[in-house]
Symmetry: C2
Subunit: 240 residues, 2 copies
Amino acid sequence: MANRFIDKLLGFSKLTSEEVAALSGLTLHARNVSPRTDLIREGDRPGPVFVMLEGWACRYKILPSGTRQVLGFMMPGDCCDLHIGLLAEMDHSIQVITPALVATIGRREMDEVMDKHRGIARAMYLGQLIDEATMRAWITSMGRRSSIERVAHLMCELYLRARNIGLVDGEELELPLSQLLLADSLGMTPVHLNRVLKVLRDSGSMNISRGTLHIKNARQLIQIAGFDENYLHRRLRASG
Amino acid sequence: MANRFIDKLLGFSKLTSEEVAALSGLTLHARNVSPRTDLIREGDRPGPVFVMLEGWACRYKILPSGTRQVLGFMMPGDCCDLHIGLLAEMDHSIQVITPALVATIGRREMDEVMDKHRGIARAMYLGQLIDEATMRAWITSMGRRSSIERVAHLMCELYLRARNIGLVDGEELELPLSQLLLADSLGMTPVHLNRVLKVLRDSGSMNISRGTLHIKNARQLIQIAGFDENYLHRRLRASG
DNA sequence: CGCTGGATTGACTCGGATCAAGTCGAGTGG
DNA sequence: CCACTCGACTTGATCCGAGTCAATCCAGCG
């Protein structure tokens, strides 16, 4: 079966066949995880690195008031922070959204592989940089974009990220995210998100129905979002 | 003169005297930079790592509409992303706010030092993890906190970060950030920020005047903010 | 002394939250 | 096969936090 983690890293850096083999070895032991399972919770002592081989997850925080803020979505191929093991305590939780296949890589193992295989290290660092750039884009969205721009921007992000790992079929993408979850990620109420989705649908730019995102008019959607894909850093430096 | 970069890293990890010497060498060549100077701009090809030895800076993005979102503040001791050189293009800009002393460390140099000195590598990775956790806290603030909570939260963050590097004098901190800048970092208008600051002042929890932040009632401020300092990760893992 | 860039305050507007009813669709059990 | 249930989605009515527009105010400074 395809290993989306390897596919993703191959998109960042050329890897030797030994490096690919090493990655295969790292992700050999994976387990099935059901929806709504927390992989790790805020306050927990960080353990191994989690790698999503199949399925979706999200990072989130719960506030004292009980409201939730989703901090990012993890799709197949994504993994959590590399050096997370250095911390005493998680500052957020990670929850699986769909049935998922998750591999875990111990800190020592990871360190050894990265020391030995510079291509893997390079690809992992790039992944991390993109995650950070994505967080900056989220801060920007929350701070300075209207709700319709924010929704459009997130859809552009998810669509492009999914396309980069071959998850997109034409203009359609399976998006197993409830409106409640999306609202919690966009800093708005489910009610208002619903209305915004209706506006986007009526404008003919996109539509979400039965768990599938349809891009109807990409140009228009990008224009609404003010989306600039440069932060996803598809163009990378040529030299290692 | 004190090297705040070294001081900060010493707070993260024990360093041998050779490691301290290596860091001294890395930051030997620093230059003075005037306020409002961009160290690097969105779209630029990333260069060396920037280290703030003295003075403040901020990361920011400009949107198509012309509005600005500040993504984070850099105070003395802080530096930008370690592996930034891997990217083809910056996704945000960095601007100096006060007269500053900035060192630059070439990518090769940095790599060599980190390979050789594991303590430095560890400290740098911790710094990076804290920066990421701070971004997550910002996303949470923007998405789910009211404006007064958001302001209080940012002040708690800046106060604690400053205290960790010895920038705080009693309950006072020199905070060279204009209300316009703060507003752009909090996703609100300067007018509204001004009103919120008045509320905080009248409530007796804090006050900003003539570039100085006075914490009047820390307990109350923390309570308003719903602040949990765990994300700044002062308690770290004992083992290297 | 007047200029300039921040800070402050007031009056009014509006985007998005809140509260409250539905509606729809996939299971489940009689 | 149909009634029941439960979770997710929709829609309407109303309210309020924060934005907008527009005056000052004030301190530092050439």
